[in-house]
Symmetry: C2
Subunit: 123 residues, 2 copies
DNA sequence: ATTATTGTATTAAGCGCTTAGTACAATAAT
DNA sequence: ATTATTGTACTAAGCGCTTAATACAATAAT
C-alpha cells in the first residue's frame, strides 16, 4: 500500500486518514511497532514535522501510543479499532448517499449505480 | 440550499462543486441568469475574488457563460449538464466503493450497509 | 560507558489561499 | 446623456501548511 498524497487538502490530514486505514485494515497489526517518524516521513516523501503532526493526532485518538524511546506502537484495543472501522464505513456511506441525493438520485437509483459499477469491477 | 463551506479545503474548490451541483439539480435552471458575483459572494460570505475564481472555472468547463455586462448565465446545453451529472454520480460511487474496499468490506457487505442506512433515513 | 536510535521542540522561510481595497471598461437602465 | 450595474484586474497583507535545519532528552544497543 503506497502513500497517496494530493495537493488539494492538507497533507497531515491525508496522513492521518491513511495511517488510520492501515491500522483498521491490518497493514499495521494491533500491538505492532510502526516505523520511526523519520522513516515514515521518508517513505511518504514528507517532512518529519508533518508526519509527526499526524502521529500526534492518532495518539490523541488512542490508536497509537509511544514508548519513548523504544518507538511507536499500534494500540492493542481490538474494540477501539473495530469501532473506528465501523465509524468510518458509516461516515463514507452517509456522505455518499447525501451527495447522490443532492444530485437528485432516488434510493433505488443509487443502489443500481453501485451495482453496475461493482459489476464492471469484477470483469 | 445554503452555502456550506468548511475550512479543510480551498473555498474556491468547494464553491465550484456547489455551483456545479446547483446547475445539475436545477436550482439554477438551464439558460437562467445567476446572481452577480458580488451578490453570490455576499450570500456565501466569501470575498468576491474567491467567487470569481470559481465562476471562471465553471465558465472554462462550459457550464456558465458571460454576457458582459448583462450578467452570467447557465448553459443551455442539456446534454452537457446531464453528462456532468452522470460523471459526478459515477465518481462518487467509485470513490465510495474504493474506500470501503480498502477498509476490507466485500461487495455484499457494502450493499447491506448502504441499505441499512437508507432504511434509517426513511424513518 | 559509549553510541545510536527514538520522539520531540524550535526557528525561519516559502507558498497558496483568502481577504480588503481599489480601479477600470462595457453596457443596461434611466 | 447620465447613472448604475456588471465583469474583471491589480496590489498588499495575513494566515495556515509545509519544508529545512537544528537541537535536545531519554533510552536501547553495543
Amino acid at each position: 500500500m503506497a502513500w497517496e498524497l494530493k495537493s488539494d487538502r492538507p497533507i497531515y490530514a491525508q496522513l492521518i486518514e491513511q495511517i488510520e486505514l492501515r491500522i483498521c485494515s491490518g497493514v499495521y497489526p494491533l500491538g505492532s511497532k510502526i516505523p520511526p517518524v523519520r522513516e515514515l516521513a521518508q517513505e511518504a516523501a514528507v517532512n518529519p514535522n508533518t508526519m509527526q503532526r499526524a502521529l500526534a493526532k492518532l495518539e490523541e485518538d488512542g490508536l497509537l501510543y509511544t514508548n519513548r524511546t523504544a518507538g511507536r506502537f499500534v494500540t492493542e484495543d481490538v474494540k477501539l479499532v473495530k469501532q473506528v472501522r465501523n465509524k468510518l464505513a458509516r461516515e463514507h456511506a452517509q456522505i455518499f448517499i447525501k451527495k447522490m441525493t443532492e444530485l437528485g438520485f432516488e434510493h433505488d437509483e443509487i443502489l443500481s449505480i453501485i451495482n453496475s459499477i461493482m459489476k464492471e469491477m469484477k470483469e
